[in-house]
Amino acid sequence: MSAVGVAAVPSGEAQESAAEAIHVENLHKKFGQLHVLKGVSLSARDGEVIAIIGGSGSGKSTLLRCINCLENPTSGIIRVNGEEIKLKADSHGHTVPADRRQIERIRSKLGMVFQNFNLWSHMTLIENVIEVPVHVLGVKRDEAVAQAEKLLVRVGLAEKRDVYPAYLSGGQQQRAAIARALAINPRVMLFDEPTSALDPELVGEVLKVIGDLAGEGRTMVLVTHEMKFAREVATHVVYLYNGLVEEEGPPEQIFDAPKSERLKQFIRNIG
């Protein structure tokens, strides 16, 4: 494991005692007839960096999106900060959040970064970053601006603060999206394939920002195709296959000594 990774990981005992930020238990998700998740469990303690890997269609993005109910799970338990998301069946038999305010409160503690950035196109970068603190969390505007400026410095976009997203490269947009997620001071950062939509030469700048966050001990759940990166920053790697956890463990075990045949083949193909 690299130096960054070691710095990020609390010692074994500390991890045991650290509070559980995210707890997913026996999660199922069906889209109509398609059974995408078939009983997945996942746990992220404070300071852990969980990397979810797997082939196309393995359900890894769906799993991440279920954590903040962007996709409503069909069944299962999701706890964020120890608080279980209340779910109910609607009139069509779909599972939906039972309490809109609860899900909004939980979502405002999870900093989500999307594959396609999804910055708000009618707002400049600084407006994008202060939007949620000011309008959802009720932070005073000048405080939010001061904090947003620091975050933009941190992701290397200070001079772009008044630029609209459409005028930036993909890498710059993704770094701004990371600043937007950090601005809510999230308990957990959720990354949904953050570099998959980027040109190869722009991947590095985004991975560096994410790696720095891991180095500070930020709790993160990361869906990624960047195996080298997952090995460097993750404290725990989960390999999904066909809607189930096929194998999980510390990165050195997953990448250097995989047990499952499918994982071995997956790593060979990707590597």
Partner: protein, 217 residues
């Protein structure tokens, strides 16, 4: 000028109905969706002149019957209020479709991001959906506004004293038909020119985050 008052009022009413209608059609339950589908279909199917006569006479009659049944006095509904209500109802049906199309044109990821950060539906509408759909809606809504300014002329049939009726009376009295109708035409044209200027500014502002497409020809 009454014509402009009605056009402005009807457009505002139309935009409010249109926003609700678009939301209802996109996100509402089956009943809400069907109701709005009937509304937009019927209003857009029936000629406006017929709708105006129908809603004006039947509408005022209905209100008075309801009032009478509840033991209140009959009221005289002012032509201005009735005109705004009737034209606004018509505008609402067209606005619904314009706004629905504009909302569908927003990259859905932006709405998803707002949800992912815990925005409530009202906040999402106000801060993200409405400003993001505006650049796609303005050309269509500008059409509706210009149509509204001229639809006010239809209210002449229910005796509302707007520009066209005033012109006809003035021309009839003085026999100077050409002068008065030309003058009326010029007035309508002026309204359109001023509108075009203002709407152009509005569209430029609404598209502030979007690069010009001129270079992409």
């Amino acid at each position: 000028m009454h014509s402009l008052e009605i056009a402005v009022g009807a457009t505002i009413v139309g935009l409010l109905i249109g926003t609700w209608g678009a939301y209802g059609k996109l996100y509402g339950g089956p009943v809400v969706r069907d109701l709005f589908a009937v509304y937009t279909t019927v209003v857009r199917a029936v000629p406006e002149l017929v709708l105006i006569l129908l809603l004006y006479y039947a509408g005022t009659d209905l209100i008075n019957q309801v009032l009478a049944a509840m033991g209140y006095q009959r009221v005289d509904i002012s032509g201005l209020v009735a005109g705004i209500a009737v034209l606004g109802f018509v505008q609402g049906a067209y606005s619904t479709e314009v706004i629905r199309g504009a909302i569908l044109a927003i990259p859905q990821g932006q709405i998803e991001a707002a949800r992912a950060f815990g925005m409530s539906p009202g906040l999402l509408l106000r801060r993200i959906t409405l400003p993001a759909m505006l650049p796609f809606a303005i050309p269509g809504l500008a059409n509706l506004w210009l149509i509204a300014t001229k639809d006010t002329a239809l209210l002449a049939v229910v005796g509302f004293f707007e520009l066209t009726l005033a012109t006809r009376q003035a021309a009839g009295v003085t026999k100077a038909y050409l002068v008065f109708f030309l003058a009326a035409g010029v007035l309508y044209l002026c309204v359109t020119l001023v509108s075009n200027f203002l709407l152009g500014r509005a569209e430029k502002w609404a598209r502030r985050g979007m690069p010009s497409i001129k270079e992409a020809r």
